[in-house]
């Protein structure tokens, strides 16, 4: 047996290598840095993310399988990698100030961000469940630690532990599912499943494997009833990490979920379509109803993120390959509005006083019109008000459902987004029409947050008014399913 490792394919995973190398480098040089100059690490992280993004763009025209089919390069992966890297850049820009302000343990903060991004990238561009699982674990493990990186904060430690325990539990489901699939088909490659299923070999063990894998992914994208960790973890984590989780983990997990199910298990849609239909309805309704009574804005946004997963699932259950581009569009739009919203949440806080209750936002428009304006844009986009990207995203998703004949699902979705408008608009109402309830003191208007907010606003308006380009990209990405 003479198998040679294909060294020449390494150039095609340059973005991954860059992130990995910089992560290791940062861990090393952190030791030699003085406490004051830790923001240097942030700059290096930006450099690595930026150069990785450049390589992703350069490589985006390639489409090939790498390393004996264990990894691959295609349009879906490239688009998602690009999205994740842009999201990373935004999060790092806001972290530059936030980490300093909240005295987050920064030495490990940035390397772990890089490793977690690496995990996401591996996850979204692999067609082999083994690699997917390793990538997912890399992402998750890094985030478990990131969530607890607040110094002297019991809530963060609790959130970290909860997330870790439940995440391990979910991983057990996932890996058991993979094992059952391997046992019943002898393959770890998702195309291998398709071959087996196409032959009509749908055994009970295979279907249990599919179900357990669905459970594993449902945990990561926080579908009800696998969502319970979300509010606690989102609330306890440093807000920049919350943004990172809400945008990055969700996008990466959803894209992988999409890839696995749309490549391999689409013939079984009759089986899993109904149950995901039910999950979508429960997720949307439960999350929106619970969000109505939240007083803490991070918890509110946590439930909102669960609800949005429900909306995306609406398009997911249709099983329409072409129309699944709406899912990609939604994820991109969602990433920007979420990162933007969390950047505003960060803006409101100070060291030791995060001002997360909704009362802090009362009368904000008079004191800080800019912050109020930015947050209003993000909340309106989350609500789905034209001409922002959030509207187009909802429009595409629901029209996908209607075109595929899932009219009731679309109706439930629209009703839910009406309910959701209540809690988003309530914050806006507080900001503009209420008198200040309490003194929140000087807020931290650092350029790093403002930059992030402005980028997100620009993007939301741009893709909201001209959705065409992004939609074409998304359509290009989902062409891998054909």
């Amino acid at each position: 047996m003479d198998v040679k490792f294909p060294v020449d394919e390494l150039i095609l995973i340059a973005p991954e290598i860059i992130l990995c190398g910089f992560g290791l480098l940062l861990l090393l040089i952190e030791v030699f840095l003085k406490t004051k100059s830790k923001s240097f690490l942030g700059i290096l992280t930006l450099v690595s993310a930026g150069s990785a993004l450049v390589f992703v763009l350069k490589l985006s025209s390639f489409s090939t399988d790498l390393f004996f089919g264990l990894y691959s390069l295609d349009s879906l992966g490239s688009l998602t990698k690009g999205l994740i890297l842009v999201m990373l850049i935004l999060v790092v820009i806001m972290s530059l100030r936030y980490v300093e302000r909240e005295e987050v343990i920064s030495g490990e903060y940035y390397p772990l961000l890089l490793f977690s991004t690496l995990g996401m990238m591996i996850m979204v561009s692999s067609k082999n469940l083994l690699t997917i699982f390793v990538g997912l674990e890399l992402m998750s493990l890094s985030i478990y630690i990131l969530v607890g990186l607040f110094r002297d904060n019991l809530k963060a430690a609790e959130a970290s532990l909860k997330y870790f325990l439940l995440g391990a539990f979910a991983s057990a489901f996932l890996v058991y599912g993979i094992a059952l699939l391997y046992g019943s088909t002898g393959s770890l490659d998702i195309k291998g499943y398709l071959e087996v299923i196409a032959k009509g070999d749908t055994s009970t063990v295979l279907i249990i494997g599919v179900a357990l894998i669905a459970v594993g992914f449902a945990f990561k994208i926080a579908l009800v009833p696998f969502h319970m960790w979300t509010p606690d973890v989102y609330e306890g984590a440093p807000t920049s990490i919350t943004a990172f989780m809400a945008a990055g983990v969700k996008s990466a997990a959803f894209v992988t979920f999409l890839r696995v199910f749309y490549t391999a298990f689409l013939p079984l849609i009759k089986q899993w379509g109904d149950i995901l239909w039910l999950l979508a309805v429960i997720t949307m309704s439960y999350a929106n109803l619970t969000a109505l009574v939240q007083q803490n804005i991070k918890r509110m946004l946590a439930y909102s993120s669960i609800a949005h997963a429900g909306y995306i699932l609406v398009a997911f259950v249709t099983g329409e390959k072409i129309l699944s581009s709406s899912i990609i569009y939604y994820l991109v739009a969602y990433t920007f509005m979420n990162v933007g919203a969390f950047s505003c949440v960060i803006l409101m806080g100070r060291k030791g006083e995060e001002n997360l209750d909704i009362d802090s936002y009362a009368g904000l428009s008079a004191r800080h019109p800019f912050v109020a304006f930015c947050l209003t844009i993000f909340l309106l986009s989350l609500t789905g008000v034209p001409p922002l990207a959030g509207f187009m995203a909802k429009f595409y998703v629901f029209s996908t459902a209607i075109k595929a004949g899932y009219v009731w699902l679309a109706i439930i979705g629209v009703l839910n987004s009406v309910v959701a408008a209540y809690y988003y608009l309530r914050v806006i109402m507080y900001m503009y029409f209420r008198d200040p309830v309490k003194e929140i003191g000087r807020i931290d208007l650092s350029p790093s947050y403002i930059l992030v907010s402005l980028i997100c606003i620009f993007f939301l308006i741009y893709t909201g008014i001209l959705p065409r380009e992004l939609m074409l990209l998304a359509e290009g990405a989902v062409s891998v399913f054909f």
Partner: protein
Amino acid sequence: MVPIVFKWIVFLVASLLAIFSAIMMVTRRNPVHSALWLVVTFISLAVLYFLLNATFIAISQIIVYAGAIMMLFLFVIMLIHLEKGPEELKVLGASKIFAIVLTVLLFVEIAVGVYYYRVTTFKPGPMPLGDAKTVGFLLYTNYLFPFEIASILLLVGIVGAVMLAKRRKE
């Protein structure tokens, strides 16, 4: 070769032992006892792996889990004096019953699935799959990429452990 009946007997003994010791492990009050029962479970599982010709995994199971990891467990338990175990108010609370019912339900479901399982066209690959040579060869050729990623995963794990320890110290 080994007679098939002997295989069956070993399988039955090892698997029953694994189940029994797992239950014992969960129900013991004394953490040291629990840990020791867990060692028994691991060893029984190793036997099952041997039966499946997965020699490499069987040996790693014994060396890594039953050996190294359990040693650390015991070491930590004794170091921080957990021998007594936390006091519990109820032996069998409602939530425990609920948990048992749910777990059994899930088990039953999977069991039903396995019961209805019919091997169709898929044929198992050539034996032996699981000896050290084959595994090693595959790990360093075909599966080198995920293997390397797993190394980063381990690194992150170490960083996490260090972080937790550091927090304690401060």
